[in-house]
Symmetry: C2
Subunit: 347 residues, 2 copies
């Protein structure tokens, strides 16, 4: 009895860990014996964050101003390659936009190119839509709303912007719309469809961009929808006034204009991603792709073997409920973390 | 022509100022000659904020954890007198909840006890409901959703919790629900209906609480819905994961458990509110009420006369589009601000 209860508790913790990255508390409960501090490689968040200096007192005390919000929208348009800040809606995290879109775009049939980040299907299902996960872009074309995560999480598959515009055109023929989640597109040339949003084929398309991942500031909660100006205005209207906290406004305005920081971060992330693939391959795992912020690997013997071995060493990775041989790795942030990962992979 | 253009621009700025407090940018554009720094008395935000110390790096870098959120919910339940953290949903500002409620509670006919804070009517109207502003509690009883801001903004009118429970019972007879916005209820004994939410008559009632006003941290964006546990769970579900930014979690958890700070703040606010009423009366304005965070005054000669006189002295107050003789004053935060207000009121 005691054993069965412990078993079901462990199963619940494992299920939690397979739903989202970042569940360090569940991992600690599952492996209380693991050495501390834990190294959290379960997310795709840059481990070397954009520096947050002391913030002006007004950031905390005053309601966020309209002028500051307009400037953040302009900074996001500049960073993402949109023509105009009016094409941007800023939210307290991309997740808030994922929650919101089903309420703005009534849809009966939603198709998600998958497997992918689970919150899109969850949000549309919660709103009452029938959600199909499909494996080809062509299979998206009949939906009321089609969702593409690009590059995809967890495997890094990229759908070219040209293909997305063709898809958007197909969808538009029956009033369907395309949502493109570019959470991991920062700094990847030629991947984003945002510079193409002026194209009439892109009318009604909504592109989501995440601030916290590349800039290593997931706690700030800042995300954007980029779309034609009327669509962006409708999203801003639905979010209401003061949707973005003062700290997110202050930090986002500075970071999104700091091209030097981004260039340096991308150079390091790309090199570290290659280094990580090398370590995984040397350990007998097969690299399947990913983005500069995370790598996906296949473990023919089952991901649980590796997940548990790493967890006993205080390293949290990301398994998936739908792919028992897949394990996703974020990037270690410093020499100590690289050393511990390398040692644990060697076993 | 030049003059007419300037006139319509000024009218737009005035309209903006009459919609919300805090529009310092509009005031500066309207009165560029005013001495700086401006003193913003246009909001009901405590000018002496809860101290924000340096935050742990994880507050910024990591996704907000489930354990931290649960602790914030428990802290809010403690602060507001709810039995249990499960009765709390935390959001990035009360406004986010005001935007959300119409999507969770389909309603054709909404009644708002008014005049009051304008965003309730705006959000329900945007969702397609017919919104009536009524002036008695009895007139709320037939609505699908009834909204009471308690204490009311801007006049401080209080509806007793017993009366709200009776209203909730009346509403429940035809499936109607009550929303109580307690944005300005902090520290006022006997005003809040939250401790009564266990009463069966309160089933389905949603109480909104605002963090940023009393704690002087409007930029943090933190607000709560308090309700029976199933209703609170539905709101949390609609908000989705990671809805509250890391800084709001860290600051809110500490502040909401700091009863000493709140007691000291309330003592000062109550004394300052009385002092402000005295100044207003001495200047020939009639105090109409309010809360410890703001005071409403009547100017028989028209609020614009006083608004402009104070604006020329670099002091922003809050006029109302629906009441041309009303002017609302927040509290000055230091001796210099009190001195400038007193001098400007003397004229």
């Amino acid at each position: 009895m005691e054993h069965r209860q412990e078993g079901s508790e462990a199963a619940a913790l494992r299920s939690h860990i397979r739903t989202h990255g970042g569940n360090l508390e569940s991992a600690m409960a599952l492996h209380p014996e693991a050495p501390r501090p834990w190294i959290d490689l379960s997310t795709g968040i840059n481990p070397v964050p954009y520096p947050v200096g002391p913030l002006p007192a007004e950031t905390w005390t005053r309601l966020p101003s309209g002028a500051a919000l307009a400037d953040l929208m302009a900074a996001a348009a500049f960073a993402y390659g949109a023509a105009d800040g009016a094409m941007v809606a800023a939210a307290p995290g991309t997740q808030a936009l994922i929650q919101l879109l089903p309420r703005l775009m009534p849809a009966r049939r939603v198709a998600v190119l998958g497997p992918t980040y689970g919150e899109h299907a969850a949000a549309w299902s919660a709103a009452g839509a029938a959600v199909a996960t499909v494996t080809t872009v062509d299979a998206l074309a009949d939906a009321d709303v089609a969702v593409v995560v690009n590059p995809n999480n967890p495997d890094g598959r990229v759908v070219a912007p040209d293909r997305l515009l063709m898809l958007s055109t197909s969808l538009a023929r029956h009033g369907g719309r395309l949502v493109v989640d570019e959470a991991f597109a920062d700094g990847l040339a030629g991947v984003s469809v945002v510079p193409r949003l002026d194209d009439p084929a892109a009318r009604g398309m909504v592109v989501l961009r995440s601030f916290g991942k590349t800039y290593g500031l997931a706690g700030v909660r800042l995300g954007f929808a980029v779309a034609d100006a009327p669509t962006a205005a409708a999203i801003r209207q639905a979010l209401g006034p003061w949707a973005v906290p003062g700290p997110a406004l202050t930090i986002g305005r500075a970071a999104l204009r700091d091209g030097d920081w981004l260039a340096g971060a991308m150079a390091r992330l790309v090199a570290d991603a290659a280094r990580l693939d090398g370590l995984l391959a040397a350990a007998g795992l097969t690299p399947l792709g990913g983005t500069p912020l995370f790598r996906l690997a296949e473990a023919p013997e089952g991901a649980d073997v590796w997940f548990d071995r790493l967890a006993r060493a205080g390293i949290l990775t990301r398994p998936f409920d739908y792919a028992p041989t897949w394990l996703r790795f974020g990037l270690p942030g410093d020499a100590a973390a690289w050393g511990r990962l390398e040692a644990a992979l060697r076993g």
